[in-house]
């Protein structure tokens, strides 16, 4: 899932300066699970902004809406009527969701209420950890099911650097050394042999370095005729 963090109230207030009719748009998917952009968080932020507006005379009229998934056009169309006449939409979805609604409603300003952080997972209540680097060429089969791209501060592919000590990464005591974990996992799996052979330089072309990625599932692509039959939406 996508992990995000809400921007500070002062940062959000600064973005909304000069706007009047504002729609806060939440998303029930990832950002609801990581407690930053679901219905509840939308309500809390809306109240905070209303309070701030009345205290500081900002003149904001704040409305709330939350959709199932802001990143999918099928769900984001639900916003249509609510977006009408607004000066700004403050999106509490991830950057993907915010961009989807901006592309669907190009006449209104879409502002990001969140900082989208990473692809991760809830570790325990209230703790979310980055897990995948989205490099486009998965190596988990070589690394005991632990991603060195996302979880090693240097994305090393050939074992821990000289800064790994006591299972901790050199960048901070709160950060586990991914390679210590990989070593332990491969030891448990009886596959320490995988650490013996040098892994050559990685092909970063399928990663972000190769430019924005476009993935096409040919069997799912609609023909022009099918698109027309669906009413022009694809």
């Amino acid at each position: 899932m996508i992990i995000g963090e809400q921007k500070s109230l002062s940062e959000i207030a600064a973005m909304l300066e000069g706007q009047r009719k504002i729609l806060i748009a939440g998303c029930r998917s990832c950002v609801a699970i990581c407690l930053v952009g679901g219905e509840k968080e939308v309500a809390v932020l809306a109240e905070s902004l209303r309070l701030l507006s009345s205290l500081k005379g900002k003149g904001w009229e704040v409305e709330e809406v939350t959709v199932e998934r802001q990143c999918e056009k099928e769900w984001a169309t639900e916003l249509g009527a609510r977006v009408q006449g607004k000066d700004a939409v403050l999106s509490l979805a991830c950057g993907v969701g915010a961009q989807t609604i901006q592309s669907m409603y190009p006449a209104v300003r879409v502002l990001p209420g969140l900082n989208t952080s990473n692809m991760g997972a809830p570790e325990e209540a209230g703790v979310f950890l980055e897990r995948c680097g989205g490099c486009g060429d998965c190596v988990l089969h070589l690394t005991g099911g632990i991603c060195p791209i996302a979880r090693c501060a240097k994305s090393l592919l050939n074992g821990p650097c000289g800064g790994s000590q006591g299972g901790r990464c050199e960048i901070s005591p709160e950060t586990p050394c991914a390679w210590e974990e990989i070593h332990r996992s491969l030891e448990r799996l009886g596959r320490l042999d995988l650490l013996e052979e040098p892994i050559p330089p990685k092909n970063w072309l399928p990663a972000r370095d190769g430019g924005p990625r476009r993935i096409v599932r040919k069997e799912a692509v609609l023909t022009d005729e099918q698109k027309r039959a669906k009413g022009g939406r694809a």
């Binding site: 240097k154 592919l157 074992g159 000590q165 960048i171 330089p201």
Partner: protein, 301 residues
């Protein structure tokens, strides 16, 4: 095979090698490098130039190496994976070779969060093992990693770092073996204060026969004070400084002399360990002490 550098010659002839570190300045003038060069000339086979150590911008290691060559000293250029991708890395190696650099130390590099520009982006297109693979191909096959032929291949003596004090301990020898497989001709270790752990590591190195496949230079760093020792212990990732060392420094009337004496004792001890073929002296911001240490350890006249 004829040696590509004086350092390689010393090691091939089985003479005990000495390398020493010179820290590039935060300056557009190489005057301090020239000063160190004049002070240190003749006390070591080759001199490491660190590459933006602790992730702070300093004069480039290759530029400093060129200055050392002008002064008649042999450089070891350190090249981290933090600041350059494979394109820049190979380009820098061609340039360094043209300037006369032969010894290159391939390292991951300290994470930029250690430095004074923590907000910068790191590269890590390749890691230190992959850096060795790339440089070896340039040397042995006369090709860039892409496969493109080089008109003239670089003559390189390839180095790697080894840290017996980092974890997981059992993996540290595997990692050395991997670096040897990838192309390391020599290794320089992290500073040794925990001699017992270093000897355990060396025993594992010998058990795998690695000491016969790679030249091992044991790292030492003279301490100026017990505060420096405490800093190493608590703040430097991948270092072990036993309390006995800290106490010895603390209880000394003349800590600087004690630091030098301890370093000399360590060198004398390291010389007798089977498989150790030299020492690498890292006298950070204390370069002028290296000739004295080398002399007192009986390594050079």
């Amino acid at each position: 095979m004829s040696p590509r550098s004086d350092l390689e010659r010393t090691l091939l002839e089985r003479r005990f090698a000495v390398t020493a570190e010179i820290g590039p300045p935060k300056s557009a003038s190489a005057e301090s490098v020239r000063r160190h060069a004049r002070e240190m000339k003749g006390c070591a086979d080759a001199f490491n130039l660190t590459d933006n150590q602790t992730a702070m911008s300093r004069m480039s290691s290759i530029a400093c190496a060129a200055v050392l060559i002008q002064e008649g000293l042999e450089p070891v250029v350190q090249m981290t994976c933090r600041d350059r991708n494979r394109i820049a890395m190979q380009s820098d190696i061609l340039g360094a070779s043209a300037l006369g650099v032969r010894n290159v130390l391939c390292i991951s590099g300290d994470h930029q969060s250690f430095g004074n520009m923590k907000e910068s982006k790191n590269v890590y297109d390749v890691d230190s093992v992959q850096e060795l693979m790339i440089l070896r191909r340039m040397r042995d096959e006369g090709k860039l990693w892409s496969g493109d032929e080089l008109e003239v291949a670089p003559e390189l003596f390839l180095g790697a770092a080894a840290n017996p004090f980092a974890d997981p301990f059992e993996y540290r020898v595997t990692r050395l073996a991997k670096k040897v497989k990838a192309g390391a001709d020599f290794v320089q270790t992290q500073s040794i204060y925990d001699m017992e752990r270093f000897e355990r590591w060396m025993a594992l190195v010998r058990a795998r026969g690695l000491h016969k496949r790679v030249h091992i230079l044991a790292g030492v760093m003279p301490l100026k004070s017990h505060k420096v020792a405490l800093f190493m212990k608590n703040k430097v990732a991948g270092m072990i400084v036993p309390d006995a060392v800290i106490d010895r420094m603390k209880n000394s009337q003349d800590p600087k002399e004690e630091g030098v004496r301890l370093c000399v004792e360590q060198i004398e001890h390291l010389r007798d360990i089977e498989g150790v073929q030299g020492v690498h002296i890292m006298a950070m911001a204390w370069e002028e002490k290296v000739p004295e240490i080398v002399k007192r350890a009986g390594l050079r006249p």
